[in-house]
């Protein structure tokens, strides 16, 4: 079963942390990334640099910023192959962002066609 993990940074990136702690967090990420079945997404840049596109009456409308509020914008994603939701929850809980003021959303992948 495939799950898409959406990572929301919340206050995790804006909270100042000493060098030591940052290194520990990177090391944790490295561990998480070794999880079998986990495929990380491309690293995403800041939502401030996002451009949102809509098409109305055939006309392309672009607006500056993400679709939702900057604070609520998605910050990263990954794909996880896991047996069930419990396994996905356990992995999500190991992602450092989840305990540093951000959150991980687990979405079951769906086949639409």
């Amino acid at each position: 079963m495939q799950y898409v993990l959406l990572i929301y940074h919340g206050t995790s990136l804006t909270t100042p942390r000493p060098e030591e702690e940052r290194k520990r967090i990177y090391a944790e990420w490295a561990e998480v990334n070794k999880t079998p079945g986990l495929t990380g997404g491309l690293p995403m840049g800041l939502p401030e640099n996002a451009t949102t596109v809509r098409v109305e009456d055939g006309k392309t409308l672009t607006t500056d910023g993400p679709f939702v509020e900057i604070k609520e914008a998605v910050g990263g994603y990954a794909v996880l192959e896991a047996d069930d939701l419990d396994a996905a929850i356990e992995l999500a809980a190991r992602i450092p962002t989840a305990r540093l003021g951000g959150a991980v959303e687990i979405r079951p992948s769906e086949t639409y066609w």
Binding site: M1, D83, D84, L85, D86, I89, I106, P108, E110
Partner: protein, 392 residues
């Protein structure tokens, strides 16, 4: 005969449905099949008699129905993805034993990925066998809302693949807490006057105690519910709420108290010291006459440490007031930050009244009145105000 049938249905629904979900892996399919089997039973059993093992009969019948349906659907839709349905299911069905998967079912229904209200509804529907209408009425929501809630929960279980299993050791404590919380929530919904839900919660509590005999908190919760339920008749007089201190002791259900204490003893023998066990111990002390207030206060202190809840501290204050006098209780109450909680002000009013500080007591009662919702509790506060007119 009809009563017996109903009893059998009542007892078997959860087990039969759990076994079917375990076998079919689909809530809706299992529910439809179970309903069909129960309908067939209602038709046949009055004439043919109740089979020796009604549960196994119902599971076997429901399974056959479901398998036939799956085959039919498969042929009709010519689905490419084959469902793995054991061909020999009909003949290998052991008529004497079928797996009891109610635990798997309740852990699935109370999975934290579902909203609490959905957990409650799903537990009552699947294990309790209540109809959607019955659940909707108990929780004062329109039936379509409740139906929608159930549909969404079942859909999520399937789409997100919430596992149908008893959680492994490292997840069990958290997940069990969630299950117990749901059962206690159902009980409290019934304790407010709707008796049938309290009975439902007791039934679930007994089933859990049977299924998880080594978990002290399970026995603790059962004990707590039994001991609280035992004072149902004493809690109301002519539709009016009666305070614990004023309850008529002769109205307590002594048989239920004995059962509650038995469950409490089991919990204590398992070295249970969790929040439900401690609450049950307090409820047990409340059933004694006269009450051992110092001991009750000690247990509230323990519960307060376990939960860190200011509401528990408030209860401790009441016990301290009984053991050491209203002034000692008031000192605890005045340290609590529960300004929006009507019981805080009602308790303050009560303690101030006993200290003869009538004006302040009236102010506290009035403050409580602005916060209270329950009509019976409102009337009680109004009575107190009327009994203590403002002094001149």
């Amino acid at each position: 005969m009809v009563a017996t049938l109903e009893q059998v249905f009542r007892d078997q629904w959860g087990r039969v449905l759990a076994a079917l979900i375990g076998f079919l892996g689909d809530f809706d399919l299992a529910e439809e099949a179970a309903q069909e089997a129960f309908a067939i039973a209602a038709e046949r059993w009055p004439q043919d008699g109740v089979p020796a093992n009604p549960g196994a009969w119902l599971v076997a019948t429901a399974r056959n129905r479901a398998i036939n349906r799956i085959r039919r659907d498969r042929t009709l839709a010519a689905k490419t993805r084959l469902l793995e349905v054991p061909q020999a299911a009909e003949d290998t069905m052991d008529a004497t034993a079928f797996p009891d998967e109610r635990l798997e079912l309740i852990f699935t229904c109370c999975h934290p990925a579902l909203a609490t209200e959905a957990q409650v509804a799903l537990t009552l529907r699947t294990l309790g066998g209540l109809t959607t209408g019955e659940i909707a009425r108990a929780f004062l929501v329109p039936e379509p809302t409740m139906a929608q809630r159930l549909v969404r929960a079942k859909r999520k279980i399937k789409a997100a693949r919430i596992p149908f299993r008893v959680p492994p050791e490292h997840l069990l404590p958290d997940r069990l807490d969630a299950v117990l919380a749901v059962v206690y929530l159902i009980f409290n919904q019934g304790y407010g006057g709707r008796g049938d839900l309290a009975a439902e919660a007791l039934w679930l509590g007994r089933a859990l105690a049977e299924l998880l005999p080594d978990q002290p908190e399970v026995h603790g919760l059962l004990a707590l519910m039994l001991l609280l339920d035992a004072r149902r008749a004493a809690r109301f007089r002519d539709g009016e709420l009666v305070l614990l201190a004023d309850q008529d002791h002769s109205l307590l259900d002594t048989a239920e108290i004995a059962q509650g204490r038995e469950a409490l003893d089991r919990a204590l023998a398992l070295r249970g010291r969790g929040p439900y066990v401690v609450q049950a111990a307090i409820a047990s002390l409340h059933a004694d006459q006269p009450r051992d207030w110092p001991q009750i206060a000690v247990l509230y202190g323990e519960l307060s440490r376990l939960t860190g809840s200011p509401v528990v501290e408030l209860n401790r204050a009441v016990a301290i007031a009984e053991a050491q006098g209203p002034q000692a209780g008031l000192e605890i109450v005045d340290r609590l930050s529960l300004q929006d909680y009507h019981y805080l002000h009602a308790t303050r009013g009560e303690l101030l009244r006993r200290l003869g500080r009538t004006q302040e007591a009236r102010e506290a009662y009035r403050r409580a009145l602005t916060l209270v919702h329950d009509p019976a509790e409102r009337r009680l506060l109004q009575r107190r105000l009327a009994e203590h007119p403002p002094s001149r």
